[in-house]
C-alpha cells in the first residue's frame, strides 16, 4: 500500500467518508463515470452485489448468462463507446470464465476493468472452495492486474486500474478482491490517477522522425497507407482523413481498422489481409512507400514476412514501442499517438495526387469484381450467399449500423461487404478470433449506442457457443438484431479442409437445432429464409423492428471465401479462386 502511494500521482481529492470495501468498489466506478457493468454473482463477490442492489438507481448491472457473455458484452460496450467496459465475476469458475474475453481484449486493445471476488485472505493458497489463482492465470493476458486484500487499498487501486486500462494503448485490467477486503471498512476518498511512475502511456513524439517520414512521403511515387484500429482508439479519424486527402494516398484498412474511414471514400481502396481485397494485397508488393498507421502487422495481414513489401520504404506510426520492428522492419518509426503524429506530419507533407497509381487499384478491383464479387452479390447458383445478405443489410441500413461479427467465413464476408459510414461500427474479435464473441458483444454495443441499429452477423457454429445470452436479451430487452448465416458447417475450417486437407471434413458438419424455435423460446421474434426472393423482405422486416429480432438465413453449404492468401504465401500471391 505504501509503495502503491509512491508509484502513482493523483488529483481531485474527494472528502473522506467511512464505508465498506464493497461499497467503495461501486463508488470508485461512479467516480470514474462508469454506470454500467456486466456480470454474474457468486459467493466471493456477494458483498459487492449487495451494494449493486443498494446503488441500483445510480448504477446499472446487466446479468449475463455466463461470465464469458458478460465480458464480451463489456467489450462490445467499450468498442462502440470508447469508454472502459466493466465486468464482475465471482472467484474460481467465475473468474476463469472471463479468461477468453480478457485475452481477446488484450490482443484487440480494448479497455476493460474486470473485478473478481476472491476467497478471504486467510484462505488464500489453501485450495478453498472456489479459490483459483486468477492473478497468476490472467497475468499473461492483462495489461495490469492486482489482488486487493485490504479495503483501504480499493480507491487507489481502482484509480490506477482505470488510468492503465484507458491510457496509451488500451487493454484489460483485472482486480481481484478478497471477500474480507469487501467486508472491511475504509475511509473512502477518491483521487483520480494521472500518472504511474513506471509506466509511460504515450511515448514522446520525436519531431525529427516526423520530418523523416514526411520526406519519404513527399518523394513517394507509389505510396500506400495501411491503417488499423489505432486511428479509432486514438480518436484520430478526422486527422487521418485530413492527412490522406491532403496527400492523396490510396488507403487500405486492416480488419480492425474498418469504419475508421467511410467505406465509400474515394481514397479507401479496401482491406488488406488474408481475405482482404485483391488490389491492396497485390500492390503492397509494388508500392514504394508503405505507411502503416495504428496497426501492428499481424500475420493475417502480412502473409509471408520474407516477401512482404520488400521493395518499399516502411513508415510506422505507432503508440506501442514494442510493436516497432516486431514483425516488419521499419525505415522510419514515428512513436506517439496517431492523432498527434498526424497533426505534426501535416505541416511537412505536400499536397499530392496519385491518380495514375490509384488506377492500379481500380484496375485490380475490376478483376476482383469480375472473378469474385459479381458472383457473390448476384449468384447464378440457387443457394444464398453470405455476401448477398450483407448487401441486403447495407441497403436497409445505408451503412449506418453497427455490425458485430463473430469469427469465421461470415466474419470475413461481413468485413469485406459491410458498408460503414461511421467510426466504431465494426465490432469484431480480430486478434484472438473468439467464436461466440458476437452475440454478447452486440448486447454491449446496443447498450453503448442505444440509438444506433446494432446487427450481429454470426455463423451457426459461433452462435451456439454463447447462445445462452439470448436470456440476457430477454431480460434486458436489448434491441439487437441477430442474423445467423447458417450453412450447417463450421465454414472456415471446412473451407480449409476442402482446400488443404482433401475435403476430409473432420468434425465440421453441424447438426443444428431449430434456431427459430429457440429464439421464440426467449420471446424474440424470429424468422428463417432460405429463398432469394424472400431475403430483401426478411431483412426489411428485421430492421423495421424496434425490438430484438432473430433472422436465420440458410446459406449454400459449401461456398468459400475468396480472395484468399493461403498460410505462408505472399500477399501478392493472393488467390481469386
Amino acid at each position: 500500500m505504501e509503495t502503491l502511494k509512491k508509484e502513482v500521482q493523483e488529483i481531485n481529492t474527494v472528502k473522506s467518508v467511512k464505508m465498506s470495501g464493497a461499497e467503495a468498489v461501486i463508488r470508485c466506478l461512479l467516480e470514474e463515470g462508469s454506470t454500467l457493468a456486466y456480470g454474474y454473482p457468486g459467493g466471493a463477490i456477494m458483498p459487492v452485489y449487495d451494494e449493486l442492489y443498494k446503488y441500483r438507481e445510480q448504477f446499472h448491472h446487466v446479468l449475463s448468462r455466463h461470465e464469458q457473455g458478460a465480458i464480451h458484452s463489456a467489450q462490445g460496450f467499450a468498442r462502440v463507446t470508447g469508454k472502459v467496459g466493466v465486468v464482475f465475476a465471482t472467484s474460481g469458475p467465475g473468474a476463469t470464465n472471463l479468461v477468453t474475453g480478457i485475452a481477446d481484449a488484450q490482443i484487440d486493445s480494448t479497455p476493460l476493468i474486470c473485478i473478481t471476488g476472491q476467497v478471504g485472505s486467510h484462505l488464500l493458497g489453501s485450495d478453498a472452495f472456489q479459490e483459483t489463482d486468477i492473478i497468476g492465470i490472467s497475468t499473461p493476458v492483462t495489461k495490469w492486474n492486482y489482488q486487493i486484500t485490504k479495503a483501504s487499498e480499493i480507491p487507489a487501486v481502482f484509480a490506477k486500474a482505470f488510468y492503465i486500462a484507458k491510457s496509451g494503448r488500451p487493454g484489460p485490467v483485472l482486480i481481484d478482491i478478497t471477500k474480507d477486503a469487501q467486508f472491511g471498512e475504509l475511509d473512502f476518498s477518491y483521487n483520480k490517477c494521472v500518472k504511474v511512475r513506471s509506466y509511460k502511456a504515450i511515448p514522446t513524439l520525436n519531431i525529427e522522425k516526423v520530418k523523416e517520414a514526411a520526406v519519404l512521403i513527399n518523394a513517394a511515387k507509389k505510396p500506400m497507407i495501411v491503417f488499423g484500429q489505432g486511428v479509432i482508439l486514438g480518436s484520430a479519424e478526422n486527422e487521418f482523413k485530413n492527412f490522406i486527402e491532403k496527400t492523396g494516398i490510396p488507403s487500405a484498412c486492416t480488419g480492425l481498422g474498418l469504419s475508421a474511414l467511410e467505406t465509400d471514400h474515394p481514397l479507401h481502396v479496401g482491406m488488406v489481409g488474408m481475405h482482404g481485397n485483391y488490389g491492396p494485397n497485390v500492390l503492397t508488393n509494388q508500392c514504394d512507400v508503405l505507411i502503416a498507421i495504428g496497426m501492428r502487422f499481424d500475420d493475417r495481414v502480412t502473409g509471408n514476412l520474407n516477401t512482404y513489401a520488400k521493395q518499399a520504404k516502411i513508415i510506422h506510426f505507432e503508440i506501442d514501442p514494442s510493436e516497432v520492428d516486431k514483425n516488419v522492419k521499419t525505415d522510419v518509426a514515428v512513436l506517439g499517438t496517431v492523432k498527434e503524429s498526424l497533426v505534426e506530419v501535416m505541416q511537412f507533407v505536400n499536397k499530392g495526387n496519385h491518380s495514375e497509381w490509384m488506377k492500379e487499384f481500380h484496375k485490380l478491383y475490376e478483376i476482383e469484381k469480375e472473378v469474385v464479387i459479381n458472383d457473390q452479390l448476384n449468384p447464378t447458383k440457387e443457394g444464398l450467399t453470405m455476401s448477398e445478405v450483407l448487401a441486403g443489410i447495407n441497403k436497409e441500413t445505408k451503412g449506418e449500423a453497427v455490425i458485430v461479427s463473430d469469427v469465421g467465413q461470415h466474419q470475413m464476408i461481413a468485413w469485406r461487404y459491410a458498408k460503414f459510414t461511421k467510426t466504431r461500427s465494426n465490432i469484431t474479435s480480430g486478434g484472438l478470433g473468439t467464436m461466440g464473441f458476437a452475440l454478447p458483444a452486440a448486447i454491449g454495443a446496443k447498450m453503448g449506442a442505444p440509438d444506433r441499429e446494432v446487427i450481429a452477423i454470426i455463423g451457426d457454429g459461433g452462435y451456439q457457443m454463447t447462445i445462452q445470452e439470448l436470456g440476457t436479451i430477454l431480460q434486458t430487452k436489448a434491441a439487437v438484431k441477430i442474423v445467423v448465416l447458417n450453412n450447417s458447417f463450421l465454414g472456415m475450417v471446412r473451407q480449409w479442409q476442402e482446400l488443404f486437407f482433401d475435403r476430409r471434413y473432420a468434425s465440421t458438419v453441424m447438426t443444428n437445432p431449430d434456431f427459430v424455435k429457440i429464439a421464440e423460446g426467449y420471446s424474440i421474434e424470429a424468422n428463417r429464409v432460405s429463398k432469394r426472393e424472400d431475403l430483401a423482405d426478411a431483412i426489411k422486416k428485421m430492421t423495421d423492428s424496434k425490438e430484438a429480432y432473430f433472422l436465420e438465413v440458410v446459406i449454400e453449404p459449401e461456398s468459400n471465401v475468396f480472395p484468399m492468401i493461403p498460410t505462408g504465401a505472399s500477399v501478392s500471391d493472393i488467390r481469386l479462386t
Binding site: 492473478i135 497468476g136 499473461p140 495490469w144 504511474v196 513506471s198 506501442d320 514494442s322 516497432v324 512513436l335
Partner: protein
C-alpha cells in the same frame, strides 16, 4: 541464421507481488529458457533489479526487452553482451570434514577466490565466487571429494557502459543519489 549469444538482461521494477510471474511469462511465450536469474534490491529504495541470463539472437532479445519494458511495473529493461558487463556468481560446497586437511583442497583454495566459511565436526563449507567458468572448474576439482551439497547463485552483473536507467530512477526517486553520474560513463542508447 543469426548467431545466438549469452545476453544479460537487467530489469528494474517496482517491488510488488507478481512481477516475477509477469516477466517470466514474456520469456515463456517466446519459448526462451532462463539460464540464470537473480533478484535483489537496486540502488534505489523500493526498486528491484532482476538479472536474467538467456541465450538468444540479438533480434529476439531486442523484442523481448521491449516487451519486458512494456509491463506496467517495469521501470526500465536493458540487455548486454558478455563484453559489456562485469559479472559474478557465487557457489557453496559442503564437504565431509575428513577431507579438511587434504593438501589438495588447501592448495586449491590458495589459488582461487575461495575460502572456508564454516567448519563443524562432520563437514566444512567452501564459498567460491567468480565467473561461471571459475565455479565450473572448482566444481570439477571438488566433486571427487563427494559433495554433500552444492549450490550456486544466479549471475549478478554490473554494466560497463552507463545505463539510461540512472536518469529514469533519478526522475522517479530524486533521493537516488547513488545512481551513476551522467558524465561518468558513455551513454548507452536505449533501443527506441
Amino acid at each position: 541464421m543469426e548467431e545466438k549469444k549469452n545476453y544479460t538482461v537487467s530489469v528494474y521494477t517496482e517491488n510488488n507481488i507478481g512481477i516475477l510471474n509477469r516477466l517470466s511469462a514474456i520469456f515463456l511465450k517466446r519459448h526462451i529458457n532462463i539460464e540464470s536469474m537473480t533478484v535483489s534490491e537496486s540502488e534505489i529504495e523500493h526498486v528491484h533489479r532482476f538479472t536474467f541470463v538467456v541465450i538468444v539472437t540479438e533480434t529476439l532479445i531486442r523484442k523481448v526487452v521491449l516487451q519486458l519494458e512494456k509491463q506496467i511495473e517495469v521501470i526500465g529493461a536493458f540487455f548486454h553482451t558478455e563484453e559489456e558487463i562485469i559479472y559474478h556468481e557465487t557457489a557453496l560446497f559442503k564437504i565431509s570434514s575428513e577431507h579438511l586437511y587434504d593438501e589438495n583442497i588447501q592448495n586449491k583454495l590458495k589459488f582461487r577466490r575461495a575460502h572456508i566459511i564454516a567448519i563443524t565436526e562432520r563437514y566444512f563449507v567452501i564459498e567460491a565466487s567468480g565467473l561461471k567458468e571459475d565455479i565450473d572448474n572448482m566444481y570439477q576439482k571438488l566433486k571427487h571429494y563427494g559433495l554433500m551439497q552444492f549450490v550456486r547463485s544466479g549471475r549478478i552483473a554490473i554494466s560497463r557502459p552507463r545505463m539510461a536507467i540512472s536518469d529514469v530512477l533519478k526522475e522517479i526517486a530524486p533521493e537516488g543519489e547513488k545512481s551513476e553520474d551522467r558524465s561518468q560513463k558513455t551513454e548507452v542508447q536505449r533501443i527506441i
